[in-house]
Symmetry: C2
Subunit: 395 residues, 2 copies
Amino acid sequence: MGDGQRKQVFDAPEYRRRMRRVKQRMYDRGIDILLVTDPANMNYLTGYDGWSFYVHQGVIVVIDREEPLWFGREQDSNGARLTTWLTQENIRPYTDDYVHSPTKHPMEFAADVITEVGVGKRYIGVEMDNCYFTGQALECLREGLPQWKFKDADLLVNWVRVIKSDAELRYMRMAARIVEKTMQAAIDAIAAGVREGDAAADVYHAQISGTADFTGDYSAIAPIMPSGIRTSTAHLTWTDRRYEPGDIVLLELAGCKNRYHAPLARTLVIGSASSALEDTARAVIEGLNTVIDFIEPEITGEEIEEKWREAVAGSAVVKMSRIGYSFGLNYPPDWGEHTISLRPGDKHLLKPGMTLHLMPGIWEKDFGFECSEPIRVTESGCEPLTNFPRKLFIK
Amino acid sequence: MGDGQRKQVFDAPEYRRRMRRVKQRMYDRGIDILLVTDPANMNYLTGYDGWSFYVHQGVIVVIDREEPLWFGREQDSNGARLTTWLTQENIRPYTDDYVHSPTKHPMEFAADVITEVGVGKRYIGVEMDNCYFTGQALECLREGLPQWKFKDADLLVNWVRVIKSDAELRYMRMAARIVEKTMQAAIDAIAAGVREGDAAADVYHAQISGTADFTGDYSAIAPIMPSGIRTSTAHLTWTDRRYEPGDIVLLELAGCKNRYHAPLARTLVIGSASSALEDTARAVIEGLNTVIDFIEPEITGEEIEEKWREAVAGSAVVKMSRIGYSFGLNYPPDWGEHTISLRPGDKHLLKPGMTLHLMPGIWEKDFGFECSEPIRVTESGCEPLTNFPRKLFIK
């Protein structure tokens, strides 16, 4: 058996372009070596794709080395060979006695690799607030690299990821086709008397079986689909309960292709909507439409939020949390990129090729409403990635 | 609408027993306040259940306070009200400007809460190597609590979780029923010409729709189901590829109920097996059966691994990584508990009520084989939680 199944999600020039952009940022910030522990950033620079992020692993970018290095658990190293563009010498596996051990830590191994490739260098950047880069990882690395100066390189790669290439957008459009089918599957499945879990099963089936042309991947957030009083809060999933007449159901779902997402939220009510829900739906959808018309390059995140606030000013809707964020390539626990947030204070200018999830979710004391849109910033405005009616669904 | 959907996964006495055990360990280690950031540990002590772990959140256990405190994002605080046994005053939401912000960090908020409830106290325990407790979280907390002494309390709660109550085992048995159905669905779906993603869709559907009596929850690890050369490594999922005659397919799946897992691995070959695969399968299954017969209370993790090594000694099978680990309640990215590992050096004594995933996965240069069993340690031996043929499946 050969490498016939070696997966080429992008061609080598795409990865090299990404590396050049990351190195420019390293250079600007005086970083000789960047330790990347965010699984999405690891994938972005190397193609590495495996559910191995429950152990410590990383990608090491050396400013004057063409290829980055991957380090991880030995049993995942064939995965690195099969999914990355790296040559064998840059795949550095550690033995299993480093895993979940009271006496050894994988960052000791990483420090050794960094010492080896970092001769004559001094400044290391680490992703300080990335989940998967633990307090222990930081301390262990500091101990193993006593001569090195540490710099916070959190989000350094994320800020390169924020503008999508045509090749990336191709996968995001595939994800958009998947989420349209998935949302329809959810709406079709939900009815009074049906178990929430059976509707969730149909959602997953649609999300993974995809279309006739391509299947889907697991999304970085599980389907969020609470009903009834549980719609009063974000991030709940489903239960064994059977839907009842009058239930509101939130549906925050995503399609995913090659780790690229298209998230989409809609709300459904079984039977008839209360006037409070109808009023909320009307205001939110009008606000969302206003924002979509407004977005163009060279405006800031806070200007968009301000426009939203003006649009809903005549209604009872008050949203205290951000109304959207940048998204794209990701792994659990989040499809957001943690860069741009549409809220007061966000001074980032939008650029063509950015992708935002416009998500003005409303969670009141006893019910919620969600209607969202994933969009791409174009040269002159913005383009919704999905085509799904923006309305309150009634069944 | 009231709290009719407030979910009672366990009764209050169960949570209070857990709190008492955690407090004894805190007392033994001289910890006044324990900051719990592991989502499974948060759930274990409070019941909190939401996909909100992509932002900083936690549970604060004060040694002389009956109830712990939950802190998290405002939009998740109704979720805390609906899923935990905590009274309102112990649910502490932070505003959205703390989320993914370049200027504010949620651990500043946590430090304020700890200062408030920790008057006269001095020693704080943090889960140093828990993913979700980032390097930045540690530094931020140290800055916000300059008078406090920090202790590493990593796995403190995990070591309480390691022995399961009857109430927990009830959910694990439900998860076992689900994974049996899920494994059968995978075997039924896989055939030459079928897209891997379509088989994965059937796996998810079975995993979530569960049985006639209960539905399932999302598992902490996505279905691991590589085929062909991709079976040479752990932790790969599926692709768009269509299965081909001769393909080996690894199936590492789980059922999940109320966050309690039952993982199970089997291997299938389409057509006929090579003699190398047959030999590996025979040795691994014999080794697994030997270990199941051997396990009883008061033996160590390393003794079990030694028994395994003896059993496979006459074969070509050499396993350099652990052959099993403790599992149970969990969230992504892992269903393992990071406590007991069955490997040389592990001196932990097994006790009745522990649950282990016996998982001697073999990943050779060009193929893999997996056959596993989730078991419970009993008073006199061990009991497999699932009932599924231990063999190489041929289709």
